[in-house]
Amino acid sequence: MEAQQHTASKDHATLADTFNRDEPRVDWHDKTLWFVRQKRDKAAWQIPEWEHLRETASQIKHNVLANLHHYLLSFEQQAQQNGVTVHWAANAEEHNQIVHSIIQKTGITRVVKSKSMLTEECHLNDYLQAQGIDVVDTDLGERIVQLANEPPSHIVLPCIHWKKEEIGELFHKHLGTPEGNSDPQFLTAAARVHLRERFMTSPIAITGVNFAIAETGEVVVCTNEGNADLGVQLSDVHIACMGIEKLIPERKHLGVFLRLLARSATGQPITTYSSHFRKPRPGQHMHIVLVDNGRSERLGSDDFRNALKCIRCGACMNTCPVYRRSGGHSYHYAIAGPIGSILAPALDMKKNADLPFASTLCGSCSNVCPVKIDIHDQLYKWRQVLAKDGYVGSTKKNGMKGMAFVLSHPRIYRISGSVGRWVSRHMPFLVSNSLNPWAKQREMPTAPKQSFGEWYRTNKRKA
């Protein structure tokens, strides 16, 4: 994908800076997502036991992660009994190869795909396209970014960064809608006609998985558009792709998550469709691909294990004051925002070393998380790992060493302070250099005649 390649070499701060050159657009982006956060708040307040529900979901996921091996085997066994072919993929490459080989055996080249962040993580579209497979995303937002040759900027609202007028132009170019028409209802109808043709002529449907039930071997897919259902019902082959952390123990646990998911994501009580896929209908083939791609490694880490509880609701993005003002693409990873910033470094520390620093550690993400992932604490912990492993620049490291020295020597601190306010030159947030990022849009604080310590010694020191 063009945009992805383009952004890969630039860090979050640079991409965010570019995004901020159009301030009215940042305002619009911020307000749009804040509106979703407010809808989430209203929906949450409708449930008096909301905090209890979050705790319950968190504990169920805790159980799943602690017994993942058991649940995976149980799920596989049940699924196989249901007539489903189960595949195991150690990484993204294996996942893509498995999906391709299933498609290849049918001799078909037209595929429809409903929303799946896992396939984004694995760059499945790029892979299949390179093998000559024509894959169309059927979620409207996903189709819009696909037509624009961009990755999604949000896991639930993939084209939230696009304005309706721009979508009108895009559809005019790709779907032949009249120029200048940006009526959402009209454009949606045009997309329906366009997608309907693809649904009718694509005998293979790929879907993601929101929840996989170990007890029954079924997978549950939540959509608002019914596109997963339509794709699967019209297909001869259904391929469901999921990360191994998507399991829940039993069907009775599903209600906890369905109540939380849509409320956290968009403020809806529930998604329009919660579709259960348990077995292929006669004559149909159903495959489930279980993907690890770094997850079992994370499972072994006390500090970062909880990130695997994520149900991909996107609430942490909507509430994140940084995400709202930097845009999803500034995170240069399939999953943007706070949760993406703790998932991405686990996959590639070097490439994603900037992401745990793209946060003020305000903690709002952890508070909205429906499964209570300690997101901001993990961001802090990732910073420690990245610095220790040498993924933070040497200039910064040396500055920190100098600072640590002065701050552990009171006399030097006092002397340095009195000669020109040492802090103003060495505090990481006030460091003056030729570019002086503090002062670009802010005045420097003015240094007083006396520090507090000096005042105290003059006025208060007890003999």
Partner: protein
């Protein structure tokens, strides 16, 4: 009750009036306050940048300075939280543990230990309260808008005791200002935009002053206000509670 005050390094260097107000306010309320003179910093600037492992001697110094007190009171939620969550001392971990459990942010000390119900302070102005994240979400100084839970606010309780003070409402009651330590320079564009948006909310509701428990957030907002040549000023909550 033996109480020490911890004045964060940037307050010591740039905002001595906040330290003075903290000291005077506590003394006014009958607390005898100790100021360990060899204090420097909580170590957060290193730790938040990923260099917690370089903060060892800074931590040791903190433990040396602040051992032996019933409470350590600090006019910063952020520095208090850092000590609470991350202070360790290889040579004397029990002392570090004691400090972690007795360090308190100024407003929580006033409400939870001194149980302040009256103040003589007078501050006849329209004031907007900026809830700094570490104090609010980290120390739980007030309820958070994300949670389905009854509302309360320790700093607001105190501000309501100040004569003449009119607390203005805000559209977003607890959005981050974008300071974030090194974030404010490493992510300059987003940091400033966040600050500008916070300020716009306060100005829209007629704030003459923006107050809060963390001078670092206020320093960032002050920098933007001054660049905008705004007449609205920032003021630490200790200065208001000690006013008049």
């Amino acid at each position: 009750m033996k109480v020490a005050i911890f004045i964060p390094c940037y307050v010591d260097q740039f905002y001595p009036q906040v330290g003075i107000a903290t000291l005077e306010l506590l003394e006014k309320l009958g607390v005898s306050v100790f100021y360990p003179e060899k204090q420097t910093c909580c170590g957060q600037p290193m730790a938040n940048s990923g260099f917690e492992h370089l903060a060892t001697s800074c931590n040791d110094l903190f433990v040396e300075n602040f051992s032996g007190y019933d409470y350590i009171v600090c006019p910063s939620g952020s520095c208090t939280l850092h000590i609470k969550d991350h202070l360790h001392a290889s040579a004397n971990e029990p002392a570090a543990e004691k400090i972690r459990s007795t360090v308190m942010e100024l407003t929580e000390f006033l409400t939870d230990v001194l149980h302040i119900k009256n103040l003589t302070a007078h501050f006849p102005h329209k004031v907007g309260l900026h809830q700094s994240c570490h104090g609010q979400r980290g120390l739980h100084l007030s309820q958070m808008s994300e949670l389905v839970s009854p509302g309360f606010s320790k700093p607001q309780h105190l501000l309501n005791l100040v004569q003449g003070l009119e607390l203005i409402p805000l559209d977003r009651t607890d959005e981050c200002c974008g300071f974030g330590g090194t974030f404010c320079v490493a992510e300059e564009a987003v940091s400033v935009k966040m600050g500008k948006d916070r300020i716009a909310d306060h100005l829209h509701h007629g704030a003459e002053y923006i107050t809060g428990g963390d001078m670092s957030c206020l320093m960032h907002l002050e920098g933007i206000l001054r660049r905008q040549r705004s007449t609205t000023k920032v003021i630490h909550i200790a200065e208001i509670l000690n006013a008049g």
